[in-house]
Every structure is written in structure tokens, then in C-alpha cells.
Symmetry: C2
Subunit: 383 residues, 2 copies
């Protein structure tokens, strides 16, 4: 094989944006209650009797329950007509300002999301080019902008970070805009508390920049990914994809095109897996001991379950800090990990070793380990 | 920068699968006619008069028209209940057989598609892990499988090929399964001839394998990508994404969650762009003259427009062969380019230089140039 110089990658900046509309647990519980009353009245008309006790339970929650079993206090929802692209644009504009990066310096966009602004076309990466004013022409010819929309359920952002590293390390890009954004509120079935109590909307943008190899924050062995399609049913949208297209008003009314979850299976399968064998395999590949991690950020699907995962790690020697969004933004899927980083700028000190852990639907997991070797610009607009 | 050995990439095999159900132009025209009659009757009830002449025209086509202006004779549609994953699985199984690659040898899946089998979750890459029996455990630990679902409208497959190259060249993968598959029939609005006359279903799988650098088929400069979100409206799905979620039966009945196209704008914007400045910029980056290309495959959205693009290239010195699916499979989006390769095995001879051209919604374009340096296994099950 030929020998060539290969660059490393740093994160030059991270920014996060959350919409202004706050939904407390109380408001979510009230919205579910309203849906229950409507559904009950509908069933009385249709079948002569209302919801059974079991059926009614799917609509029932409380602030106390959500705080205790999920650890969330509130989340943000986008306004009508605002999609994932709007969340991403706000975060990306802020990132370019804070890092003093001109649109003309961006040579690629990786857009991690499970809630594309539009089905099929146009891709969000293209919309972002226009929103940011990334130039169309350079030197009299169409200007190159590398691009892809990337999706891997709750592991989307770390998977896209891995692809950003591959593009930079292979010399194919030098200044990538990595977006992690999701308008999860668009996927909520208000007849099912399981996801209604957890999902939220946020956008993030991270600037991934080439650096000399000796300043690399990462290494190829410091990324780890995993798939288990045998448990795909645990987090699933029954109708609306190419396998079962949405064709009937009945499916629409029953929200079969919305996301559904088997909460118990998540708890019983994914939590012990991430708490044990997954981190063991990933650290073995990286050659890092668990006690070398100064800080970690886990996909924030459920803070109580994350505490249980971190508890397992602590028993095995983990002594680092755990960054999170503190249950104030809900499960923002592709935004959750960079949001946790952006909200905790003081923790991101040079020299610290971090672990980033995406896991969820698929099932899938995507982990990354790195060392902060440069100061980074962190900006959050979440008020 | 440190010097390290970097591998190159070859395509070890390509396979394609199309479903058995053939839809001729005549059958498509009849299906549109049925939709017209139904819509006419509905409007008579709702507003007292049927379709106007202009409205009726959107349902009207003929075998002769489609052959003349699109160049397609037929396409394949999946059966009900079959989604993109089913097309991909058939192609991937065939690929593993023909290349003698065991599931345990696959270290990653890049799944290019605009029609995910399920919205939001599970990702198709995870479903494919299970379908192919890629092992879950290795050496007593969870086995690593790198993964991402990748989407960039009609440029998805070449964008994913670029990511495959980045992963292999950066030493992060050695044996990647690159899927290009779309069940486009799930996106058709039968009240609009513009896409109804062109879309089709197919799945493909390509094995991307690390080779010594001197045997590399590609180089970083041989990939080129472009975005223009300012023309995003040309190919667009009005409702159903996170920006405008599908909420009403009216939108469902009016198929506002289906793909729509401004055919004239595609012709006027995209065709001259790909025919001129885009290929010029891409070849300038690669340092390749146009007359060095022995064979090309263009995204098969419209064979007549592709002829016009190739006509422009010929005027500038292109003398190579044009591979296509010959209008027999429709516009299969992420499958179209590898399908054209798989259907023309005799053209894929060692030593030949090729160009692959994805372009479409976004707008987006993603091109790749390479040299065939090894024999490759080509398999197609399209009967």
C-alpha cells in the first residue's frame, strides 16, 4: 500500500437550537386526556361503549409519573409549518457565527435526522445549502458541496459523525457541517403515552474540521457500531413507509403512521446491552479502559434508564462526568447528544476524554470515543 | 501529518433484483384512466361538475407518448406488503452468493434509498442485518457492523458510494455492502401522470472491498457532489414530512403525501446543467478529459433527456458507451445506476474507465469516476 499523509478531525464548534414552545409534563398529560375524551366519544358512537380500562390507560400519565420513570420535566415543540430544516437552520446559522466560518468555507453537509422535512425529496442537505447561502458557483464552475442525509434511528448522529470522520480522514472534505436535528413532535401518536411523554424537537450543528494527524481527536478504532434487526419491532412505525404505505383514513385516524414503542422491551433488551457487552466491545476495540473516560453523553431517550446504564458502568470502574440535557428537552433523537454537549460548555475542556453513545431503534448502536485537543465554540439558543 | 498506508476500493460484485409484476405503459395509462373516472364522479358529486379539460389532462397518457418523451416501455411494481427491504434483501442474497462472500465477512451496510421500509424506525440497514444473517456475536462480544441509511433524492446511490469509499480509504471498513433500492411505486399519485408514468421498483447490492492502493478503482478527487436547494420545489412531496405532517383525510385522498414534479423545470434546469457545467467541474476536479470515459451510466429518470445530456457530452468529445436499463424498469431512483451496470456485464471489462452520474431532487448531483481494475461478479434477477 502507498503511504500518504492523512489528516485528523476536530470538532471546532457545536451549536444547539430548541423552539420556544415549552410543553410541560402537565400539558402533555392534558393533551393525552383530551385525546382520550375524543376517542371515548367516538367509540361510544361506533361500538356502543367507550374505552375499556386497559384502553384508557394508554392515554393516562402525570407529571409525577413522567418525572419518576422517564426523568423528563418538559420538552419543546415546533410551531405548525416548521420542520426539521427550520431547527437545523437556526442551529447552523448560530454555529457559523460563533466559529467565524463563512458559508463558502463549508465543503460538505451531513444531515442526521429521522424526520426529514419532506418525504423522498428534496433532501434536507439541499434545503440547508440554500438557507445558509452556501455558494453555488466557484471559479466560474458549479461549486462542490458534498452531501448526504443520514438516518439510523436514535443512532443517527453518531453514525453521521463516523461518516464525517471517514470523509475528513480520507482527504475528501476539510470543513463539514454535521447536523443532528429532529422534529419528533411530528411523529407523536396522541393515543399512546409511550412516545407522547418523551419526544421533543431540537436542532444542532457541529463543525468538523481537518487537523494535522497528531492533533486528531479521534482514530478509526474509536468508532463502534452495531445492528440487531431481529428486535426491529421494539421501536417501529407500523404504516407509512414503503412496506405498508398509508392508504386509508382509518390508519391515519388511528395514527398508525406514528412512532410506537414497546417500552418494556427497550428496558429489558437495550439497557443491559448498552450497560454491559456493548461498551465492553467498543472499549476493547478502542483499547481504552472504562476509567479513562472523563465525560460521557448518552442518547437521552429516558434519563432514568440512562442512570441505570451509567450505574452499570460505575460498577465496572467508570468515574467520569455524565452530560445531559437534564430532561428539559425530551428525546430529540438525532439532536440529543450534541444538545447535551452544547448545554454543558464548561465540561468540554481541552485534554478530557469523552464517550458518545447513540442507541435505539433498529436495534442499533453507534459509539464514538475521543479526546478534546482544542478549545471549541459552543453556542445554545434554547430560551 | 503522519504517513500511513491507505487502502483503495474495488467493486467486487454488483447484483440487481426487480419484482416480477410488469406494468406496461398501456397498463399505467389504464390505471390513470380509472383514477380519472373515479375523480370525475367524485367532483360531480362534490361541486356539481366533473373534471375540466386541464384537470383531465393530468390523468392522460399513452404508450406512444411515454415511449416518445420518456423512452420507457415498462416498469416493475412490488406486491402489496413488500417494501424496499424486500427488494434489497433479494439483491443482497444474490450478491453474497455470486461473490462467495459469507454474511460474517460483511463489516458494514450503507443503505441508499429514498423510500425507507418504515418511517423513523427501524432503519433498513438493521432489517438487512437480520435478513442476511449477519452474525450478532463475535469472539464472545457483540459483533461490530457499521451502518447508515443514506438519502439524497436521485443522487442517493452515488453519494453512498462516496461514503463507502471514505470508510474504506480511511481504514474504517474493508467489506461494505452498498445497497441501492427503492420501492418508488409506494410514492405514486395516480392523479398525476408526471411521476406515474416513470417510477418503478428495484433493489441492488454492491460489494465494496478494500484493495492495495495501487489497485484502487477510485481516488478522492474522482468524486464530485453538488447541491442547489433554491430549486427544491421542482421535485417535492408537499405533505407527509416533518414540515407539513399528514393530518387530514383530504390530503391523503388528494395524494399530497406523494411525490410531485415540475417536468418542464427538470428539463430546463437539470438537463443543461448536467450536460455542461456539472460534468465540466467534476472532470476538472478529477483531471480527466471527457474522451477518457469508456462507459457511463446516468440516473435513469428519463431516457430521452439522458440522450440529450449525452448528446451535449458527445459534442464535447465523449466517445464512450452509455449503459442503461433500456427503459424496461422505470425510474428506480437509488437502484437505477447499479441496475444499469448489472444489466450490462459484458461492458464491465478490466481496464475500462467509467463515469457514474446521479442527479435530481434537491436539486442534487453526485458523480463518480473510476477504472475497472479487477473482474467483478455481476448478477441480475429481473425476469
Amino acid at each position: 500500500m502507498a503511504s500518504v499523509s492523512v489528516p485528523g478531525m476536530r470538532l471546532a464548534g457545536i451549536s444547539a437550537h430548541a423552539p420556544a414552545q415549552v410543553w410541560s409534563n402537565v400539558k402533555v398529560a392534558a393533551r393525552l386526556r383530551l385525546a382520550r375524551i375524543q376517542r371515548d366519544a367516538q367509540l361510544r358512537r361506533e361500538r356502543g361503549h367507550g374505552l375499556t380500562g386497559d384502553e384508557a390507560r394508554e392515554f393516562t400519565t402525570s407529571d409525577r409519573w413522567v418525572r419518576r420513570f422517564i426523568g423528563f420535566t418538559e420538552r419543546r415543540f415546533s410551531e405548525n409549518g416548521e420542520g426539521t430544516i427550520d431547527l437545523a437552520t437556526a442551529a447552523a446559522r448560530r454555529l457559523l457565527e460563533s466559529t467565524d466560518c463563512a458559508p463558502a468555507d463549508v465543503d460538505g453537509i451531513l444531515f442526521a435526522s429521522v424526520t426529514p422535512s419532506y418525504l423522498y425529496s428534496p433532501p434536507d442537505a439541499a434545503l440547508l445549502q440554500e438557507r445558509l447561502g452556501i455558494p453555488l458557483v466557484q471559479g466560474g464552475l458549479p461549486r462542490e458541496t458534498r452531501a448526504a442525509d443520514v438516518s439510523l434511528a436514535c443512532s443517527s448522529w453518531v453514525a453521521a459523525l463516523m461518516l464525517a470522520y471517514a470523509l475528513i480522514r480520507s482527504g475528501m472534505a476539510r470543513n463539514l457541517l454535521l447536523v443532528g436535528a429532529d422534529r419528533m413532535s411530528a411523529t407523536i401518536n396522541w393515543r399512546d403515552r409511550s412516545f407522547a411523554t418523551v419526544l421533543g424537537d431540537a436542532g444542532t450543528a457541529t463543525l468538523c474540521t481537518a487537523v494535522p494527524a497528531e492533533e486528531d481527536w479521534f482514530a478509526p478504532a474509536q468508532f463502534w457500531s452495531w445492528l440487531d434487526g431481529g428486535s426491529a419491532d421494539i421501536i417501529r412505525t407500523p404504516v407509512g413507509g414503503s412496506r405498508h404505505p398509508l392508504r386509508t383514513c382509518e390508519d391515519l385516524e388511528n395514527a398508525r403512521h406514528c412512532l410506537a414503542m414497546d417500552g418494556r422491551a427497550v428496558r429489558e433488551v437495550l439497557v443491559p446491552f448498552v450497560g454491559g457487552p456493548a461498551i465492553q466491545a467498543a472499549l476493547a476495540k478502542a483499547g481504552w479502559p472504562l476509567d479513562s473516560l472523563d465525560l460521557v453523553a448518552l442518547h437521552e431517550a429516558n434519563l432514568v434508564l440512562n442512570e441505570s446504564i451509567v450505574g452499570s458502568w460505575r460498577k465496572r470502574g467508570f468515574r467520569g462526568e455524565v452530560l445531559s440535557a437534564g430532561g428539559r428537552f425530551g428525546n430529540t433523537t438525532s439532536a440529543s447528544i450534541p444538545l447535551a454537549l452544547a448545554l454543558n460548555p464548561a465540561a468540554l475542556a481541552t485534554g478530557r476524554r469523552f464517550g458518545l453513545f447513540g442507541f435505539g431503534g433498529g436495534l442499533s448502536a453507534s459509539f464514538a470515543f475521543g479526546t478534546i485537543r482544542h478549545p471549541l465554540e459552543v453556542a445554545a439558543s434554547v430560551d
